[in-house]
Symmetry: C2
């Protein structure tokens, strides 16, 4: 049914919104977004391409959770899924406004629309047996154990700095809203979606139940790109090219990779779990299911990369 | 272009999500939503009708702002427009989940999708000269004046209980995303939109700028219903019928009203500004621009009302 030959899914990197030394103000977020959007605008404005923009929410959902916990004696606290939904609203709005501003400037009538997005995960995902993602504030052991009892949390010690809550990071299976997103892009709208990897939901007793978990945004974007049969899946990050032997004297910046090479390097531990690893895994996930291409690069290098002069291209080969 | 003869815009009342004695927990919000949705489900599931659900965000945006202020020494605070966007994410998610659950139960494949929605207001709206809507926490006079200086707020004394920030409540002019909403409903999706009246934006220097203001959700819903050329605009509230001489011995519950009668009663001050007033004004706004009908009733009375046995119907007459 879906013919997505002109569709591109664009996963913005965390640094597109908040950078390492930022405090987390709205001003910083708008400034970073504007810089990123200006880099990629010549691409976003192409009339022959349907565009979906996805984004992370790491620092923002951490802040939402922290606000909720700091205020919990005054206002009933929110669960993690609801905090994630909040950040989809706020970040979605900021991205929408930023792209729309550039469109207005050059008289492009395209509407930018942000969709609250849920991501289905399996109830039997092994991640639920072993939650590994630290979220929210640090607590003393006593406080942490009290909260674990009161709120049903799982808490663990985090690198000797205190106790924190941990949640699972299950594999995304389906973007619940993908048909709606498909219909929107095929009417020429630019869609912002799957923020923070989507709000995690499971199917239980024939209904969707929101759960407290985090989903990798690149993996979720790969699922969306596959469902939309996107022609290209572009992952923006802090570096212009993927490296092997990263940080070593024999580091090699890769100009292209086949699916098989990507699988080999990933299984050999070439890509760190917290950063390039999930991006390569996302590329593999998408390439195994489609005929498209993946580009991993920075926003600054996007244009040279599209001309084949920068970035790392990955294809089935 | 737009033929909305089968479209219904459904404005949920504040009590559909939080009720007077609720503390504001997520559990309460889901419980209230479930009750409302079950009342209106036989309507939402009709295949011959395109449905858009809109909702308020009064208590929730107040809480978002309060969380942001309580935490402001730890996390940079959010502006009111971003708080509004957050609540569109969280409430949109909760409504979506609640309706979707009912659809799953009876095997309806319709996707429920929540759209982050911006509402255009005019920069020269007289409301900007005289902000009247109290928002956020109470402060002492000293604190309030300090905040006014630091943050550019306007503060006023609120009914002798302390000082609060005031923001303008301008008239909604356009729902920025209405074409996207139109496309979604015409593909059979049920859309949740225009939460809290939409995030207010103004056109300035050829761009959309988010502003700190509040928009009446019924008035914004009337604008959306007009743009979608909706056949019906249903406003759910706490009472099953609109009254004149409300609370007096000669109170009359109205079964129907013409546009002209509604205008007359409104101008005679029959409807209180904070409650029924904006609902009647919204009905008038919609009826002046379309050929549709308005129904004002409670969720419990929706079905008798649709059969003409309850509710207040308003039409051009």
């Amino acid at each position: 049914m879906i013919n997505g030959k002109n569709t591109v899914v664009f996963a913005l990197g965390g640094n597109a919104i908040l950078q390492t030394n930022d405090r987390g103000t709205l001003k910083e977020q708008y400034r970073n977004l504007k810089e990123t959007v200006q880099h990629i605008m010549p691409f976003l404005m192409r009339e022959d391409v349907n565009v979906v923009v996805t984004h992370g929410n790491g620092p923002q959902v951490g802040n939402a959770l922290l606000r909720s916990e700091i205020s919990k004696d005054t206002i009933p606290p929110h669960t993690l899924d609801v905090c994630g939904a909040e950040t989809q609203g706020s970040i979605g709005y900021m991205i929408t406004q930023t792209i729309q501003e550039e469109f207005y400037r050059i008289n492009i009538p395209r509407v930018v629309v942000s969709v609250v997005t849920r991501t289905l995960v399996n109830t039997d995902d092994p991640a639920f047996q072993n939650p590994t993602k630290y979220i929210g504030p640090f607590y003393s052991e006593v406080e942490a154990k009290k909260l674990a009892e009161e709120r049903g949390w799982i808490v663990k010690e985090d690198s000797g700095r205190g106790f924190r809550r941990v949640v699972p990071s299950p594999m995304p299976q389906e973007i619940i809203e993908y048909k709606a997103i498909y219909d929107l892009i095929n009417h020429g709208h630019l869609v912002v979606s799957t923020g923070g990897g989507g709000i995690p939901v499971v199917k239980r007793d024939q209904r969707l139940e929101g759960i407290e978990a985090v989903i990798d945004k690149d993996l979720a974007s790969a699922v969306l790109a596959t469902e939309l049969k996107a022609r290209q899946f572009i992952i923006l990050t802090g570096v212009s090219r993927v490296s092997i032997n990263f940080g070593k004297p024999d580091e090699i910046k890769l100009t292209s990779l086949t699916l098989e090479e990507a699988q080999k390097h990933l299984s050999e531990g070439q890509f760190p779990p917290g950063s390039m690893g999930p991006k390569i895994a996302s590329a593999i996930k998408y390439l195994e299911a489609t005929d498209g291409d993946v580009l991993i690069t920075s926003s600054e290098a996007l244009f040279p990369a599209l001309k084949g002069e920068d970035g790392t291209w990955i294809s089935r080969g």
